[in-house]
């Protein structure tokens, strides 16, 4: 056992450290070098979720229910994985509209309603005060275990009367701390850096302390996990704790309900809202907290079951309260320092929760309960007291002290009663009632003030009837009769089997009925009427917070305001100096030099109201602002008009964008088409000039010789015959040219006639070679023929193919050198096609001309070496080959001759009918 003095000294020493940390945090914040502006501190501060109820209570729960302590921590893990969907939106909304508490959030969302804010505050106070009491009880019973003064721990710190009860002084010290670091000055953003630093510090302390104790129990008292679990398996009573079904009667439904409850709690507990949303420095910090906080929960829970089993194995059942195993196990083994460390860990868990919860609840009480009441007093509203910051701070501080004292009072009254022991989950169930109004408000525009009011009220009443009152009755402060026989003796009104619903544990039962009533009332009442203008405005601001952007103030306002009225109003609640600075920075943002030059528009009113909202709550801010500005309330229709207008503008601009994009695409297409047309036009011109040029050459010589014949009848017969021969050959050339042009035009336009027959290519190539033999003889060149033994027939127009062959061979003949010229014609069968190569040993074709020679009127060779020809032969040949699905190409290197090749596909074996046309 430890002496009381040591424990008290350690506790207060720890509190002093806490003060130091908070003071340091505040100082650094003033210097602009925040120590909490990093994701680690943020994640640690979220761990305020783990209270003394976790620290001591988890072991207690595990001792009676095995793994059933886990859903309380699995739920937050699941909820945090959704934080980028839900919490981020809450943070953004709260930052944009200076929302500082859950009550304010709900009140603001549903048309800045005082009534709603008040109701939420009352639920929070009713739900949280016993929870705070539970923390105080944990401290006091921890003390009594350590000092061994009173094992039952009813009135700890061994106090006979309240004035020498150490718990009271702890509570008062905590009140002092909270006042100092939670309400030292008024901050429009309501952020408390020092306090958050202290909370993060406490989270680290409680985790380390718990891990040390867990390690001690696991490896020092026992020989590791194996040892503890082997012993537990051996004891049938303990073995039952290790299975889900045997450890609790709640079943899987109960498990699900607990997980859901914890999920909602980690978002909607006032203290969680405070650290997660209000104290958030940077939205990006949430990213790391998403996994770090669940990781923290996992770590702090690893040793819970081993400690519980270890304690049960060591002490046996019923001798020592399992809630105190964390302390009593080290004590029983004589490790007094460890026990003290365990106590400090639990102390930090309790104080952390008390501090944050008190700040959160006192903010609500001040902004949503006291301020509206004060504003209700006409004299207060009209009074022209220039500075009310002192009053506001006084209210805030008073609320802190009152909440803490209420907690202490409840603890003194309830003591060991059931109402206190079971309060953890009961509190969770109370805050779960905020979920429909909060989530509905963030994602659904249709929720109305009455809907939220009805939902919250119904949920709260059902919660009170099915959970709170039974716990009070079980504590013996109320006649148990209504518990067993129902209200007014009506069986179906039994609070723990409402309407005869049995088979559920009390938490699942209450959660089911309260959330059902809550959601049903919220939805049904909301749907009873259309939202008012104010509600629709707020709904839009909340639901569309991401798409609206932060810098576009709401313009749902019509009226006139004077800066001379607004500034003193803000100054009344935030202080003159602060108000002046705020308006100055706002003026700078607007690009105006002096405050007086600010345009008294909707944006300014919105700005003033938002600043006020941070200090006195959105509903009160609304009342105050509307008292100094002349405004016309907007009806739903007008709000909707503005919204429609905005969305129409958005839609139009979107449409416009799409159209301009389409237009651009069309323009590009047109441009491309135009280019193509120009190119075609150019080609046509080229073609025309080429044709006329080609026509003119023979015409000129025909005309020249004809004129000579005409002018000089004396020409002798020899010359006359020669001239006439030239005229005839030039005429033939003309005819050929005209025929080819017509041919080309026909093929290109698709009007050519094709007479397909079965063709033996061997015969065709042979025929072509025979036809051109004379040509070769004239040039003194050699023609070599290389034919396969047999070639499959193909179906094509014989004359056309012959035309191609003749063209290629005569081309080759034209280019080969006079006496040494060799032209080789080769036919080969390849798979699925026939190939013809015509190779010559002429001068070859320059690389840059390879592509050109297939164009019309473009002949190979330079101007002088160019032989006679129309320049249409190759283009026509290519057209013909391509018509039959083949390909014509040339390979050549200058000086090494050229090879013109073409392939023609063979008809597929099947379907090779005699009548099949190729066209």
């Amino acid at each position: 056992m430890l002496s009381g003095t040591v424990v008290v000294a350690a506790s207060f020493a720890y509190l002093l450290v806490l003060f130091a940390v908070a003071w340091y945090g505040d100082r650094r914040a003033e210097q602009g070098r925040s120590i909490i502006a990093n994701p680690w501190t943020y994640a640690m501060s979220l761990a305020v979720y783990c209270t003394a109820w976790t620290y001591f209570g988890s072991v207690g729960r595990a001792a009676s229910g095995g793994v059933w302590f886990l859903p309380i921590y699995l739920g937050p893990t699941l909820a945090m994985s959704l934080s980028w969907v839900v919490l981020l939106k809450m943070i953004r909304i709260s930052r944009t509209y200076r929302i500082t508490s859950i009550a304010d959030f709900i009140a603001s969302r549903y048309g800045k309603s005082h009534l709603l804010g008040g109701l939420v505050t009352i639920i929070a106070v009713v739900g949280m005060v016993p929870y705070i009491a539970l923390q105080l009880k944990a401290i006091s019973s921890g003390y009594s275990v350590l000092t061994g003064s009173d094992d039952s721990g009813v009135f700890p710190f061994a106090a006979a009367s309240w004035f020498n009860d150490g718990t009271l002084y702890v509570a008062l010290t905590l009140a002092l701390f909270t006042v100092l670091f939670g309400a030292r000055h008024l901050d429009a953003a309501e952020r408390h850096e020092g306090m958050v630093a202290a909370i993060a510090f406490e989270s680290v302390v409680k985790l380390l302390a718990f891990l040390v104790i867990g390690g001690f129990v696991t490896w020092s008292v026992y020989e590791g996990f194996d040892d503890i679990f082997t012993r537990a398996f051996a004891d049938p009573e303990l073995a039952a704790l290790l299975s889900l079904k045997t450890a609790s009667s709640a079943g899987y439904g109960g498990w699900f309900a607990l997980t859901l409850l914890a999920m909602l709690s980690v978002i909607f507990l006032p203290r969680q809202f405070q650290v997660t949303v209000v104290e958030n420095v940077n939205e990006q910090h949430l990213r790391r907290a998403t996994w770090l906080f669940p990781g923290y929960l996992l770590l702090i829970n690893i040793f819970v079951l081993p400690i519980a089993l270890g304690g049960l194995l060591y002490f046996g059942r019923g001798t020592v309260d399992p809630d105190t195993f964390v302390l009593s196990l080290p004590l029983a083994h004589g490790e007094r320092a460890l026990a003290l460390l365990a106590f400090v860990g639990g102390f930090s868990a309790a104080t952390g929760m008390v501090i944050v919860e008190t700040i959160a609840v006192s903010t609500m009480v001040c902004n949503d309960l006291v301020m509206p009441l004060l504003l209700g007093i006409e004299r207060f509203k009209r009074s022209n007291h220039p500075d009310l910051t002192g009053l506001l701070l006084g209210i805030r501080r008073g609320a802190i002290v009152v909440v803490l004292l209420l907690g202490y009072l409840y603890f003194r009254l309830a003591g060991e009663a059931y109402a206190l022991v079971s309060i953890g989950l009961i509190s969770f169930a109370a805050v779960a009632q905020f979920a429909p109004a909060m989530l509905g408000g963030m994602y659904w525009r249709g929720g109305t003030r009455e809907g939220a009011l009805a939902g919250l009220l119904a949920g709260f009443v059902v919660w009170a009837y099915t959970l709170m009152l039974p716990s009070v009755a079980k504590s013996g402060w109320l006649d148990r009769a209504f518990l067993d026989y129902g209200l007014f003796g009506l069986e179906y009104l039994r609070p723990e089997q409402l309407f005869g619903l049995g088979g559920l544990d009390s938490i699942s039962h209450a959660l089911f009925w309260s959330l059902t009533a809550n959601i049903a009332c919220y939805v049904i009442v909301s749907l009873a009427r259309v939202p008012t203008g104010q509600e629709a405005t707020q709904a839009t601001l909340f639901v569309d917070v991401f798409s609206r952007g932060q810098d576009t103030p709401a313009t749902f306002w019509r009226g006139s305001a004077q800066i001379q009225d607004l500034q003193p109003l803000v100054a009344r609640f935030l202080g003159a100096e602060r108000a002046r600075r705020m308006f100055e920075s706002y003026a700078r943002e607007r690009g105006v030099a002096r405050i007086d030059d600010l345009k008294p528009d909707a944006g300014l009113v919105q700005f003033a109201e938002t600043q006020l909202a941070g200090a006195i709550g959105s509903a009160s801010a609304r009342v105050m602002v509307s008292s100094v500005v002349q405004e016309e309330p907007l009806g739903l229709d007008e709000v909707m008009d503005i919204l429609d207008e905005a969305s129409q503008v958005r839609a139009y601009s979107h449409e416009l964008e799409e159209k301009s994009q389409a237009l651009e695409a069309a323009t590009a297409e047109l441009r491309a088409a135009n280019e193509r047309l120009k190119e075609l036009d150019r080609l046509k011109d080229d073609f025309m000039s080429s044709v006329t040029h080609e026509l003119r050459t023979p015409l000129t010589s025909i005309r020249a010789f004809s004129e000579m014949l005409l002018d000089d009848p004396e020409i002798d017969l020899k010359d006359r015959t020669r001239f006439l021969g030239i005229i005839v050959s030039e005429t033939e050339r003309l005819t050929r040219l005209v025929n080819q042009v017509l041919d080309m035009a026909k093929i290109e336009s698709g009007h050519a006639e094709w007479h397909n027959t079965d063709i033996d290519m061997r015969e065709l190539v042979g025929h072509a070679v025979e036809t051109t033999e004379q040509l070769f003889r004239d040039r003194g060149a050699v023609l070599e023929l290389d034919l396969p033994d047999r070639a499959p027939h193909l179906r094509a127009d014989r004359d056309r193919l012959l035309q191609v062959m003749l063209n290629l061979i005569s081309n080759a003949a034209k280019f080969v050198p006079g006496d040494t010229g060799v032209v080789r014609v080769r036919l080969t069968c390849e798979t699925g096609q026939l190939r013809v190569d015509v190779t010559d040993n002429g001068p070859g074709i320059a690389p840059e001309q390879l592509g050109v020679i297939f164009e019309k009127f473009r002949q190979g060779g330079d101007q002088y070496s160019r032989p006679q020809g129309t320049g249409l032969g190759l283009p026509i040949s290519r057209q013909i080959v391509e018509h039959f699905g083949g390909r014509l190409w040339v390979q050549s290197r200058p000086g090494e001759g050229a090879t013109f090749s073409f392939v023609l596909p063979l008809p597929p074996e099947a379907g090779d009918g005699p009548d099949r046309a190729m066209t």
Binding site: L78, M80, Y252, W255, R287, L298, I302
Partner: protein, 66 residues
């Protein structure tokens, strides 16, 4: 922005997976009496699934930060 992006969808998917694993009927599969390396099957499996879930969330959240 992670909110609309892939990371947000991945986190929602992880949530759904976690909700499935932490509830009936998957839970009933883990609730066996035989030990798992000397530890209670349910207890060990819950912590393993939990740790894996946190690791997955960490991977998604920190990756999205890049």
């Amino acid at each position: 922005m992670m909110r609309r992006g892939l990371a947000g969808q991945r986190l929602v998917a992880t949530f759904l997976g976690g909700a499935l694993l932490f509830n009936y009927p998957v839970l009933s599969l883990l609730d066996r009496s035989e030990p798992f390396f000397g530890m209670p099957m349910l207890w060990a499996c819950l912590f393993i699934v939990w740790a894996v879930l946190i690791a997955v969330v960490a991977w998604i959240a920190e990756r999205g930060a890049r």
